[in-house]
Amino acid sequence: MTVTRFMGRLFSYTPSLIIINGLLWGLFHSLPVGIGLGMKWFFDRATAGSNDFFWLALPLIVVGLVRFVRTGTFFIAFYQWVRYIYHVQAWLRRNMLAGIMRWPGRNLPASPGEAMTRFRDDVDEVVEYVESWVDFWGRLIYAAACIVIMARIDWKITAVAILPLVAVSLFNNLSGDRARRYSASNREATGRITGFIAETFGAAQAVKLGQAEEHVLGRFEKLNENRRKAALRDSLFKQFMQSLNQHVLSICTGVILLVCAAEMKAGRFTVGDFALFTSYLTTFSFSVSLFGYMVFQHKRLKIGLDRMRTLFRPGEKDLIAEHSEIHIYGEAPEAEEPKEREEDRLLSLEVRGLSYSYPDSDNGIQDVGFRLTRGKFLVVTGRVGAGKSTLVRTLLGLLPKDEGTIHWNGRAIEDPAEFLKPPRSAYTPQVPRLFSDTLRENITQGKDVAPERLDRVLRLSVMERDIKTLENGLDTLVGPRGVMLSGGQIQRAATARMLMTGSDLFIFDDLSSALDVETEKTLWERLFQEPDVTCIAVSHRRAALSRADHILVMKDGKVEAEGTLAELLETSAEMRLLWQGEETSSAETHGEDAAREKESVRG
């Protein structure tokens, strides 16, 4: 999408606002034409040699009135402009947020802190360019009127004033690449700073304890210094471009003086004409600067636009300019509940040949497959780095799969991220994130939920006792990332959030890692008392393994072995290693006995 097309989409998004703004600012900017004419009128009368004070004062009073009208216009125009600013901001930010939420979440094109500069600075740059366009029409009318009036007085002198315009526009065109480069490096430097701040405060505790305050500050100062240099270059160049025309034109006034000396001597060029020329030229130079600057802005916006477009998935980049609702005048409608369709109720999930490899590294998963039917419990196990979490994320579309197919009830799923979410499936990440809201808001995700249903979910996730000990119960504010809660509480709150969705398939990525043995045991017990629960769990815990209907043993990104626990303990060395490691003091046979016992109980 070119900047031109983007701006076209922007203007057609709220046509009424651009028209109102264009008209009001057009009036505001073209009124100085009257001021210049008034001053010429005045000086022409002054040189005429009359002694009547009021006859001479009349043009001045008219000029004063025009100025008042202009100020009044400004106030109204400004109000409309402020409305426009927020329309543009709300619109772009909405589109970007919706766009980034469609990415595979584990594979974002920018770190969260960096993404923020897109939401802030790049949007501001668009607003700045829109501002130029709003001013453009009035400035154009003004400039055209000036040229006509001045040319009628003396076309030669007018030509001297206008030639630099052409020169400067050409110059601006030539310097576009440079402008873009400076702007890009400035934005990058800013992105690094916002990213660094976000990460530093995300890691405040680690920084404190690692005695790293000084080192972090040192790095921050270095980043700041880099940005100072980049910003200085950018703003100096921008300023230079912006004021170039003014510079050229103030020099032009000198040239006009040179040219008109003889004319004035000969009486062909009056003091009134001179007043008009100087009055027009100051403001005229602003108009010419604006035109030159807009060429520059247009080129520079390409970078901002590209940076914003990176937040959208390939093929969806143009959604940045999608005409969407922004709801800034009234309450936004409540979020729609996803529709449940009978034919999408889980019967079977089949995964074949699933592969994903991380860019710039050999890690990943290759050719993983399994089949899961309703009511069954699948456990994925393996060592650190075996690819367990990668498998789950690739399945969910949080990482974009390189190869492989996913079938739900025999139907191929093209976009797993779009399909594998409530009411079909729900997920608790290995390191769950809560958001700085109340605990209730985190668990219900803002939905209105019947208290009985909430109680049931809290009991299932073994949260009920914690609620009582928390200061404000469910209304406790959990802080950023849930820091006000303990690790175990965060994990169970995230589990509750997942169960709250009432999905057909629950996916636990190492749920048990932050839970103590008794709590974990209770959780599994309660969960399996529920009828009709289908689960995929990443785990290396006996508690989970022994309840599994089917186990996948991962090693180096591949399925090393699969089967029931009893089968695997006999056939897979890797499984035995994992199982034994889990309880170093107990003998191998113990485990096998237990597994057999378990089989017989379930069988």
């Binding site: 972090v216 040179l258 936004a332």
Partner: protein
Amino acid sequence: MPPKSSLSMSWMLQYLRPVKGRMALLLLLLLATTALQLVNPLIVQRFIDRANESGALSGLLTLAGLYLAIAVLIQLFTISVVYLGNDVSWRATNRIRGGLLKHALRLDMKFHNVKTPGEMIERIDGDVTHMSNFFALFIAKIVGSFVLLAGILVYMFFYDWPIAAVMTAFTVASICVMYAIRDMGVNASQAERQASAALFGLIEERIAGIEDVQANGGVPRLMNRYHRAMRKVFLTGRRAWMLRVMPWNVTVVLFTVAVTAVLLLSVRQYLNGHITLGTLFLFFQYTQMLNEPIEQLGDQMQEFQKAKSGMRRTRELLSLRSEIKEGQEEWLPEGPLSVSFEGVSFGYNEDHRVLHDVSFELKPGERLGLVGRTGSGKSSISRLLLRLYNSDRGVIRIGGTDIRNLSLPALYRRVGMVTQDVQLFDGTLRDNLTLFNPNLTDEEILRTTEQLGLRSWIDAMPAGLDSRLSSGGSSLSAGEAQLFALTRVFLTKPSLIILDEPSSRLDAATEAALQTAVDQLLAQCTGIVIAHRLSTLDNVDKIMVLRQGRIAEFGSREALASDPTSEYGRLLITNREEELA
């Protein structure tokens, strides 16, 4: 009560002190520019008067040439002023940014627990950038405008004092009015900044936790939240913009009145023959020239109000004090450190106590295993030890010294902690392992990673230690991240180490491999290991069982393990049963 404006100005000036050389140069250039700006209309005045008299054309051409030369000089000076102004502003505001970051990092965890990273971006960068715009333009524009204004008025007094007096009166009136209503938009701007910080906080937080949002169907709800936050920004912002623009509007109206009055007076003087046509034109030109500084001042008032709200928020942040008061003591005994708790009680808030009267002692080099259910106060013990919070009652000693008397750097130099929550930076592996400490050599890093079994992983990376961890380490598994955190702490060579469930995310096979390394490193220091997997605690010397914030049991591990009636002994049995169930 908001701080007085003069106070905030002087507060800002302190950041300009280190760049005073540049400032002096800047002011000099500014004065020169203004002087030149005043000269040019004078040339035009001569020009008109001469053109109307009978004189040689060459005289007119000389004047025109002079005008041209001065115009060029003015442009050169203006550019230099802008450059220097920006430079000074960036230097000064970077100091503020650095100061803020440092200050905010020193605040206690109670502060960090309620601030989102997105909000901190707004406070450390956003608010300061508002100030920086003001800084840059304040010098070039406000000071410049005032100098120009004063110059014009002084000059007018030489020519015609009644006109000059009227102009002065109006100028003073405009400035007084502007001054009186300068703060009109500050409160509204502050509200706008707050709303915008909340919006960015929301966006940043949800992007950082995007997996949780997406896979649980939270996106529609997020959009709803976004709309509500953006609407708040719109409503507060509209109000703030309109209030901020008032001073500008008022000044322009006053200026219009002033210019009309001055010109009418000039007409009277011209008709009386007190001034020439050239001087009449000069006054017209000066009033034109006044237009710009006055509009600039009005314009800058907007910036000023934005800057001031930013400044208030910044000072608010800077005035926060950590509840943790540092001591002076720097010295701790060499080697492993002893630990003692004497009657320690603690709660995160007053109503709800987490620890009740906890007392125990560890000799240098001893290793303690801490066992208890979630919420029993295990993590609180480690947080108190590291002074992330203050205890309400009782004394904690490390190496015999009350930790309240120790300076925090002295404490953190010797005490390390590994938690399950690993935080990574977007940077190289080296940055992440050393937390930007440039004094650690690669050999040291590699030796430690070797011990902890992370070496092969690093070697597999394309650029070794210089490889970048993409966007906060998203390609790292939680287990690998855990190894990272361990390495990080062991690189600081602590004398007391707290492991808060360090292996909870590791599988048993990896944990077993790691355990030897951990044991090796623990051999050189005192250790406190918090775990809910009892097998992790096989090598500790002592066991403490916590229940609801009280010590249920404390003793040597062997004795407790062999006593089936002890709390720990029973736990071992149920644990085994559970593992095998």
